[in-house]
Symmetry: C2
Subunit: 256 residues, 2 copies
């Protein structure tokens, strides 16, 4: 960080009008110069999609009491790319994504638009954090989440961070008094047991809704799932190098 | 593998009518019982998107000379989920995604629909490979790629594989004679230097096309970028646990 006020890029995947991003702005607005660049409509489950088949549009809005804010007709990753390339005059000091309405723990990290925005920023060399509250409701109570976000952001701004810092932070749905603290974790091994809901439309054609049950297959007490079940805020540092080094070594021995 | 013929799930992100998936089917059709489940339109750059906001449809087609084939109105990850949950009576022995028209080396792995399909299968415990040819043309010559695919698939079917085996295979645009061999690699550290192309529509409003230049920032000779530049087929084993363990340890020390 220089002596200049830190520039904090704010984005999300629930869209610029979601309560979660408003709570994120409220939590940190006095900690730096905020620039909000977020999708113009909900983008949940977009993973790390980018828009290459059609062009993007962006419009400046006054939604956050004078804070510079833009809505973009694309994905969370598009928002970060546009912010960095077109809107902000220097590399932001921090990118915050969220606060997501719903959990992004364990395997959810790969489906999550919230985390894909943070990941895109980390690829650009901007320390980044995705925040998610384990409450899918649009009327969720973000008061404890705001305090958690603020304390983590203050910790990060207090010293120079690794350029590729990328944190997946999940906040349990409990009051501040019941929060057990913050726990650094690994990603739990979990998956969805899919169960497509088959229906028939008024014209007699079948269609399928994706539903499924989250199944944790990981017994460890060092995972994000464990932490959240025990009322901790889970913090999982995420890699942008996806190489499986153990398997690389095995294959080198086998295939040579 | 049991004594039964292996079931091989085939998918892609360029859509079921793309030449790449036809070449993939041709390369392996005598090696097992194939089931093709692929998007009904191109899905490049969809990352690990899943469809939750609207329902999916699927239709059986006869596009591959009697091989069971379905087109799905969703993303590559949706195709794998539907195939596993609704279409195939037991867990496939192998999932093959591609052959993608264009490279998915280095950081492209996270934007790639091809790799997201393979990743989805790996999450389901199905050994999976994404294949990409470094030629974006719809008229690309897949003859060398077919031979590469076939030799890798035969190697994988010859013995029991790790359930979470997930390989990102990229094939350089050269003839079989010029191919230097297969090299097990790590993901290079690279990114796109974005450069949005700003235009004005006939109504006077600005819009932006995402463009950008691939920038390799990795000097290593053990990366996929290096291998491809030296006419090797690159094989990067990919993790489905994205935890950055080194950073986890650093944060545990710092934040405790």
């Amino acid at each position: 960080m220089t002596n200049e006020r830190p520039i904090i890029l704010i984005t999300n995947d629930d869209g610029i009008t979601a309560p979660g991003i408003r709570n994120l702005v409220e939590a940190v607005k006095d900690l730096g110069q905020l620039v909000v660049v977020a999708p113009d409509k909900p983008q949940s489950g977009m993973g790390h999609a980018i828009t290459i088949g059609h062009p993007l549009r962006m419009n400046q809005l006054d939604l956050f009491g004078g804070i510079e804010a833009w809505q973009v007709s694309g994905t969370p990753a598009d928002c970060v790319k546009l912010a960095v390339d077109k809107l902000i005059h220097r590399k932001p000091d921090l990118c915050l994504s969220g606060i997501n309405h719903g959990a992004n723990h364990a395997i959810n990290v790969i489906y999550s638009g919230t985390m894909s925005a943070a990941m895109e920023a980390a690829i650009e060399g901007i320390p980044s954090v995705g925040f998610s509250l384990m409450d899918y409701s649009m009327e969720a109570d973000f008061s404890a989440a705001r305090e958690v976000v603020r304390s983590i952001v203050m910790k990060l701004l207090a010293e120079k961070q690794d350029n590729h810092l990328l944190l997946n932070v999940n906040i349990p749905k409990v009051s501040m008094e019941l929060l057990a603290g913050i726990k650094i974790c690994r990603q739990a091994y979990a998956k969805y047991q899919e169960d497509f809901d088959e229906r028939v439309d008024p014209h007699g054609r079948k269609y399928y809704w994706l539903t499924g049950e989250f199944v944790n297959m990981d017994e460890g007490d060092d995972t994000d799932v464990w932490a959240l079940e025990h009322n901790y805020v889970s913090v999982v540092p995420i890699a942008i190098d996806f190489t499986n080094y153990k398997m690389k070594q095995q294959l080198e021995e086998k295939w040579s």
